[in-house]
Amino acid sequence: MVAQFLGLKLRLLGNLFRRSPWQVFGMVVGLLYGLGAAFACVVGLVALRLADVELARSIVVVAGSLIVLGFLVVPLVFGADDTIDPRKFSLLGIPNGRLAAGLAAAAFIGVPALVLMIIAAAQVVTWSRSGPAAAFAVVSAVLLVVTGILGARVTTTVATLLLATRRAREATGLIALVVLSALSPLIAAMVTVDWQKQGLAVLHSIADVAAWTPLGAVWAAPALAAAGEMGPATGALAIAVGFVVLLWLAWRGLIAVMLVSPERVSRTRAYTGLGWFARLPATPAGAIAARSLSYWGRDPRYRSALVIVPIVPAVMIGALTIAGVPLHLLVLLPVPVMCFFLAWSTVHNDVAYDNTAVWLHVAANTDGRADRLGRVVPPLALGIIVIAVGTPLSAWAFGSADVVPSILGVSLCTLLVGLGLSSVISAGFPYPAVHPGDSPFAQPQSSAGAASWVQGLSLLGVLAVTAPTVFLAILGIAEGGGWHIAALLVGTATGIAALWGGIWLGGLVFDKRGPELLAFTAKY
C-alpha cells in the first residue's frame, strides 16, 4: 500500500514536467530556489561546527524553529494545492490506518521534503563534536524531517477542512495580509535593537524559550548533548518525540474525519438591486466600469492589491529614513507612489484576471475603447480621491503650500500615464494571473518568466513618460517659483495624452485580438 502511494506521488511529480514549457520553467526555478535555500543552510550549519557551543545552539534553535514554523504555517496561509487530498481516496475503502500511513509516506517525496532532509543531515555535521551529541543529532534529524512534513500535511488538511468554502478561502488571504502588515512594528522593533551590543543576548534569550517548545526542542536536543547536559537533552528529545506522536494522532484523526465529511457548503449572501450598475450610465463603457467597481469591492484579488497600496509607501519611507533621507522630503513621496500602484498593480493584467469570462465581451463585439475605458474607472476614481486627500496633507507635512502644484502634477501624471500604459499592456501582453476564486497569493507558477518582463517593461515605460514632470517638480523644490506650475501643466498634459492614447491604442488591440485574448485565458 505504502509503495503504491509513493509510486503515485512520483508519477504526479513526473507529470508536472509534461506541462507547458513555462510551467516546467517555473518548477525548475522553484526547485533551484529550494536547493539554494538548502545549500545556504548547509553552509551555515557546517560553519557552526567550528563555533562555540552556546552560540551554535542559539542560532540553530532560533533558525530551526522558524523553519519548522514555516512548514506548519505556509500551507495554512498560502493554501497549498493538495494533489493527494485524503478525500480523493474515500471511495476506495482503504482502512484508515493504512491510508494515513500511505499518504504520510507519499508526503516525503517532493521539493520541501528534500530541502528539509538536506538541512537535517547538515545539522548532524554541526553536532558531530562528540559521540553522544552526534547520536542525538541523528535521532533529531529523523524527528525533524517527520515533524516538518507531517506537520505540513496536518495543517494543509486542517486548511482544506476549514477553508473549504469560497468565502473562507478568500478571507484567509486578506487575514494573512493584515497579519503581515501588523507584523511590521515587530520588524521595526527588531531593526531598532542595537545588534552589535545586545544582539547575542537577545538571541540567547529567544533560544532559551524556543528550545522547550515543540518547534525548537528537536533542534535543541543535540545542542544540549554537545554541551554535556544529558538530562535536559533527553527531555528535549522527549518533547520532540511527543510532538511527532501528537502529529501522527492528529493526522489519523483528521483522515478519519475527512473521509466522512463532505465539502462544506457556504452560506450565501443576498444583494439587493443592481449596485454600481444602477448608478452608472447604461452604456458598454458604463457597464464595464460598474462591473470593474463591483470586482474591486468583492474580489479578493483586487482587494489585496488595494491593501498593498498604502503599505508600499509606508515601507518605502521607513527604509529611506533609515538610509538617512530627510523626512520632510520623504513626505512628498506617498501620493505619487500610491497613484502609481493604483494605476499599475492589477490593471496592467486586467484581462487575465477576467479569465475566460471575457468571452462575453468578445461575443458581444464590445468596442475595445469602451472595454479599456470601463476597466480604468475604479483606479482612476480611487486615485483622484487619494490625490485630493493626500496632496494637502503632503504639502502640510512638507511645510509649504508652494509644492501643491508639483505634487498634483506628478501624481496626476503617474496615475494617468500608468492607466494609459496598463490599458495597452493588458490587451497586448497578458500573462497568467490568479484564477477567479483562488487565493490572491496563488500566483500560477507559469507566470514567472512572462510576468517579470511585462512588469519590468511597463514599469520602465511609466517612469520614462513621467520623468520630465518629475524633473520639473524637483527643480521646483530646489529653486521654487514657476517650476511648480510647469510641473503641474506638463504632468497633466502628458497624463491626459497618455491615458487617451493608451485607451485608443489598447482598444484597437483589444478589437483585433479579442479571440486571441480569449484563447490565451483559456490556456491557463
Partner: protein, 322 residues
C-alpha cells in the same frame, strides 16, 4: 428476482412516459409546421415587397436562399481548426434554415465546441467562412455578432456579479437601453425560474442554475439566431422542458437555434435538422427523419461514430468480490 421485476416495472413506466413525450412532440411539430408555413408565406410576401422597393431588399438579398426557398440564416463553409498537430475540425460545411432547431451531435472530443466557438466568433478558424444572416463573422463581426445569442460551454462567467447584475451587464453590452434590460430581466427570470437566485452571486450558483442564467443572458437581446453549446447539461428535467418550450416559441416566431448535445433522445425530440460530427467532420446532415433513416437517431449515431465496442470478457463482473 425482485430486481428484475423492479427493472421491468421501471421500463414499463418509461415506455408510458416516452409515448406521452412523443405525443407532445408530435403536437408541437404540427404547430411548428403551421408556423413555418405562415413564416414562408410571410417571407414570400416580404420578398415580393422587397423586389418592389430595392432599398429595403439589402438585408434579405444578402442572405442566400436554400433549395426549398427558405432562408439559410447560417452558412458554414470549409471551417477548419488545428491545435498544434491535432486536427480539431477538418473542413465542416453546415447550412441552417431560418426558423428551425438545428442539432449538432457527436462523441466526446468530436469538435462540437470548437465548431460552435468558431461560428460565434470566439475562436479564430484556420480556414473557412461563417456567414450569419448575410454577414461574415470573421470579416464583419459587428453585424454578425449582433444577430447571435451565445451560450458557450466551459467558459467562466463574471461570477462575482449577482444574477441580475450579470443579465444587466449582458444586455447593456449588447446595446440595449436600461429600461428594456430591466423589463426583460424580470420576464427572463420568471420564465427560467431564476427569481430566487437573482440576488445571489453567480459564484454560488449550482451548475444547472448557472446554465439557465447563461441561457437567459444569451436571449436578452432577442437575437436572430441562438448558438447553444450543451444547453441542457446538468439542467433538471422540469427546467429543460421549460427551456424547450421557450425555444420552440422562439423558433415559431422565426428565430433559429443551433445547439449541441450528447442526448440523442433530446435531439431527436427537439430538433428539425441534425448534423452528426465525428473527428471534426460532418458524417451525416439533414432533417432528423432523413439522417436517422429507419432506426432511431441513436442507432445511426452509434453506427457512424464507430459502432459499439463489443462487451466480451467481462464475466468477472457477474460474480461479486465480497
Amino acid at each position: 428476482m425482485d430486481f428484475v421485476q423492479t427493472a421491468e416495472s421501471i421500463l414499463a413506466k418509461f415506455d408510458v412516459l416516452i409515448e406521452k413525450l412523443e405525443a407532445d412532440a408530435a403536437k408541437d411539430k404540427l404547430a411548428i409546421q403551421a408556423a413555418e408555413r405562415a413564416a414562408k408565406a410571410a417571407a414570400a410576401a416580404a420578398a415580393e415587397a422587397a423586389s418592389a422597393k430595392p432599398d429595403v431588399s439589402v438585408k434579405t438579398k444578402t442572405a442566400s436562399a436554400g433549395q426549398d426557398g427558405a432562408e439559410h440564416v447560417l452558412q458554414v463553409r470549409g471551417l477548419a481548426k488545428k491545435f498544434g498537430t491535432t486536427t480539431a475540425v477538418a473542413g465542416i460545411d453546415l447550412d441552417v434554415r431560418a426558423g428551425t432547431i438545428f442539432g449538432i451531435v457527436g462523441p466526446n472530443g468530436a469538435g462540437k465546441t470548437t465548431t460552435l466557438s468558431m461560428v460565434t466568433g470566439l475562436l479564430r478558424p484556420d480556414a473557412g467562412t461563417v456567414i450569419v444572416h448575410g454577414a461574415d463573422v470573421w470579416q464583419d463581426p459587428a453585424a454578425a455578432k449582433r444577430q447571435m445569442g451565445v451560450l458557450p460551454d466551459r467558459l467562466r462567467l463574471f461570477d462575482r456579479l449577482t444574477g441580475s447584475q450579470l443579465l444587466f451587464y449582458a444586455g447593456v453590452l449588447r446595446g440595449l437601453p436600461a429600461d428594456t434590460v430591466r423589463e426583460r430581466i424580470g420576464q427572463l427570470s420568471s420564465s427560467f425560474g431564476l427569481d430566487e437566485a437573482l440576488a445571489r452571486l453567480v459564484a454560488d450558483y449550482s451548475a444547472g442554475m448557472t446554465k439557465k442564467l447563461s441561457l437567459a443572458a444569451a436571449l436578452i437581446h432577442s437575437p436572430r439566431m441562438l448558438v447553444l453549446d450543451e444547453p441542457f447539461e446538468s439542467v433538471d428535467p422540469v427546467s429543460a422542458a421549460n427551456i424547450i418550450e421557450i425555444l420552440r416559441k422562439y423558433v415559431a416566431a422565426g428565430g433559429t437555434v443551433v445547439l449541441s448535445s450528447h442526448s440523442m433522445d433530446l435531439i431527436e425530440r427537439v430538433c428539425d435538422s441534425v448534423a452528426i460530427i465525428v473527428e471534426g467532420a460532418v458524417l451525416a446532415s439533414g432533417t432528423v427523419k432523413k439522417v436517422r433513416g429507419s432506426g432511431t437517431l441513436e442507432d445511426k449515431f452509434v453506427k457512424l461514430a464507430g459502432g459499439r465496442t463489443s462487451v466480451e470478457g467481462m464475466e468477472w463482473l457477474h460474480s461479486f468480490s465480497d
